[in-house]
Symmetry: C2
Subunit: 592 residues, 2 copies
Amino acid sequence: MPSFTAPIPDLQFILHDVLDVSQQDIPGYSDLDRDFTGAVLEEAGKLARDVLAPLNQSGDTEGCVLENGVVRTPTGFDHAFAQMKEGGWTAMDCDPDYGGQGLPYVMHTAAQEPFVSANMAFNMYQGLTHGAYSAIHAHGTDAQKQKWLPKLVSCEWTGTMNLTEPHCGTDLGLMRTKAEPQEDGTYQVTGQKIFISAGDHDLAENIIHLVLAKIPGGPDGIKGVSLFIVPKVMVNDDGALAARNAVSVGKIEEKMGIHGNATCVMNYDGATGYLLGEAHKGMRAMFTMMNEARIGVGLQGYAQAEAAYQNAVAYANDRLQGRAVTGAANPEGPADPLIVHPDIRRNLMDQKSFVEGARALTLWGATLIDQAHKQGDATADGLISLLTPVIKGFQTDKGFEYAVAAQQVYGGHGYIEEWGMSQFARDARIAMIYEGANGVQALDLVGRKLAQDGGKHVMGFFEMIKGFIKENEADAALNAQFLQPLKAASKDLQAAAMYFMQNGVKNPNHALAGSYDFMHLMGHVAFGFMWARMAKVATDALAAGAADATFYETKLATGRYYMTRQLPATAMHLARIESGADPVMALEAVNF
Amino acid sequence: MPSFTAPIPDLQFILHDVLDVSQQDIPGYSDLDRDFTGAVLEEAGKLARDVLAPLNQSGDTEGCVLENGVVRTPTGFDHAFAQMKEGGWTAMDCDPDYGGQGLPYVMHTAAQEPFVSANMAFNMYQGLTHGAYSAIHAHGTDAQKQKWLPKLVSCEWTGTMNLTEPHCGTDLGLMRTKAEPQEDGTYQVTGQKIFISAGDHDLAENIIHLVLAKIPGGPDGIKGVSLFIVPKVMVNDDGALAARNAVSVGKIEEKMGIHGNATCVMNYDGATGYLLGEAHKGMRAMFTMMNEARIGVGLQGYAQAEAAYQNAVAYANDRLQGRAVTGAANPEGPADPLIVHPDIRRNLMDQKSFVEGARALTLWGATLIDQAHKQGDATADGLISLLTPVIKGFQTDKGFEYAVAAQQVYGGHGYIEEWGMSQFARDARIAMIYEGANGVQALDLVGRKLAQDGGKHVMGFFEMIKGFIKENEADAALNAQFLQPLKAASKDLQAAAMYFMQNGVKNPNHALAGSYDFMHLMGHVAFGFMWARMAKVATDALAAGAADATFYETKLATGRYYMTRQLPATAMHLARIESGADPVMALEAVNF
């Protein structure tokens, strides 16, 4: 069975060495000193290692079962969920007015990582609840907040998001679910929703469904969509549970992975719903929490790769096979461990340099969210809006790729479910699809975010990189190994953006045909920037005589790997982008 | 449920337009005229579409079951296997002396493709049998051939390959299975083998296991390994089945995919075995059929991608979601089909241009096998030895990547097993692992094949490409769109080979750290060469006023896509290779 240990020194490195969180002038950040975050992460790591990780494989094998209309989660999930609640892990960044701890989002994000690595399917139950909490917190009336939030914060009740219908996912304007207004101000919600994660289960006494639906007579298409609170069990004004609402589970989908989470078909048969936010503004309400939700999925991408990587390293050190070409490394043994072989190291270094780059980008992104939400910082808000599709799309593509690469280290054993490496790949696969498939992320990036506010945010990103390079180029080693490669990659990204500007206007297909490559190109540049920042602080730490020199030297070596072996991809993506729409659009649909 | 139609026009295009098989001076090729191969492929396509494909998903869901020591295959596999045998599909390229049809290997390969696309797990039962046939045919005594081959040719009996043991896969020198010589000239084989595909089942009355084992007292390591024929059921001299041999199934492995094929732990408890070939030369005996086996796996890679692609195209044409950015393509409908969107096309064109390039390379490789085997052509033999790890490693990596990409077209539905797209990805995954994991293919390519016979074969490959370019560069369009990109890619490959030559001697890690990138770089060059050849014949056909102009124009457009959007990868691979071993080998094992 695979094992998992929370990478606490790596998380602390990002929070303190790179982001220096406790010194940031953001509300709540002054509390985040090294001891505090260390203590929090230590506890999160224990829960992840001792409680969540041991249920990952059994949860996959057992899956969820629909019995008499109720979903039963895998053995042990109930006890683990109780511990998650008791530890207050579900309330960490929630509003203290509703029972939350009011910590910054960056602390929540850092603490979530080990949970997601240890058991992604399990952690989705609270993850979805957090999404429902955010939506009601942002758009609910005071009465709604009082009624629904405390129990969502504590996870006594859990939440879901209901967007997709059988005939529409990305294009929600085609939605058919109806919400008919009643005399008492409530709505009767009728329709079928599919792919509802945590749609039903036995971990909580109530489930609060957030449902997108159309109020008859409203505008056509996406502009006529409203958001509703639809509880599984009705709640009296005194907070007591009342009768069942007209919501039922149609079936549990049989999926490729995340078997421990029930993905449900939900049927609403005139269920009582409460309008959340304004009528016909449902999409806007969903979008306000989109950045956080998508960053959460981007975290899933690298968190699964982290768990897979840890096990691949253990196997590569343990498994004896062949001899190092430069001479036996384990002459007393029958063979050398796999890790002596250059191609095994190439594979592991790919994984390691990805995961650490992703962690840095994700946590930096979380600080931008805090700046935007807690300080109303429009620059931070614009930047994180720009980076969100990159964090989601690039990190989940690569997260899956490297979970597969980690599986490959095991040879034939990687294909056998018993070893657990297949599950990491199967579970990671969903992150490329849900919360907006990665093609849609690329479209959002190129079709919407790039030009937002006159292209201000992407320009700001380029300036930020330029400024960082300028500030640090006096350091010859840093300059040669990190800043110059970053400069070249950033130049490729600027050339790609320029290509879109010059050609996208006359034919938008010239931009959209290159959108996926742009998302990956920008991912590499963002990672290169993160690695340059990490290298800078590692260099400084070593110059200052840091006690743990090996830790910082390892960071530098891993960063150099990323710069030399991964950044060359930017030129390839640029070449593809500059080939334009013609090769992509050449065929008639019937000739595929 | 996914569907499948054999791509007969594409197969015919490669066989006749590109390879012009019936005009080749290779024994048996003169029979392969367009009508003959068309009739054969038509029948193969029917069997694939009507019998094999409908059992693919049910075979995955049902899997194989071990009951009272005997493996039961999924419902319907027995009838399908009977039809496969009756149609003579298992005997196509086998020796007529033993009941085969004696057709060239290229015909066998072309006919296998639809079977593998339709149901990879099912087709492995005959695929493994073909491998056992080849080994006995190449290394058996006349008596052994008479005894075992006819039933393997007809698939009345099936075969297996037993190499891996729990503690060794790639490094077979660590093998523990013993074969002790008996007074009657037989051996008693004792040990455990794992990952034995088609290790047991209910499709045949006997199973002929080919088992690698060590004869006590022989040389240490890999040089002391011998190959044995170990039947499941003993066979009398008159061919009648006798008592069960001491071979049993320990268990069926629970795998990520290919559930329809039983992957068994096999226990040999003093089983009677017959030495095949010379004592202690077992590895050499295995190697003689390695090229064919690996090309067969390379075919699996693209055949799965082909099946996944066909379904992705159908879905992209069917599913209405969003509007074309350049104006509604389906104004009467509620939305446009997915296929109008540039990023969906980018994805589909990636798949299409890969599959067609792979088909060309694989069938060309099959003609080289025929030249080598039927004509003793050492140049062809050297070239196919060089190309084999590329066909296996590159095509299975990309085959999986594009099966995943096809799944992505389905959005959330791609993750639901009911739609069948997950299975293509899960099944394709194994091809990257078995028959030598792809890292081992890269090692074989760079550590062994490149320098073979003084580097003659890779030089020959470069010369062949150079000659082709020279011969055709007068055609301006062909030159600009195909030959110049091919020349640039080939230059990158030569630079990489040069880097290895100059740096690999002083430190072999400089070569091995770049081996995986070299395999992919060479894959792109080989595909670029294939596309240039396909473009040349398509151009000629159009110039000659071919009736099906759309077919040839589609080939040209697909090829242009490959050249502009895929070949830019070669520069990235070269940059990685030229960064050498240092970034890859920098860390101590404990610091991963």
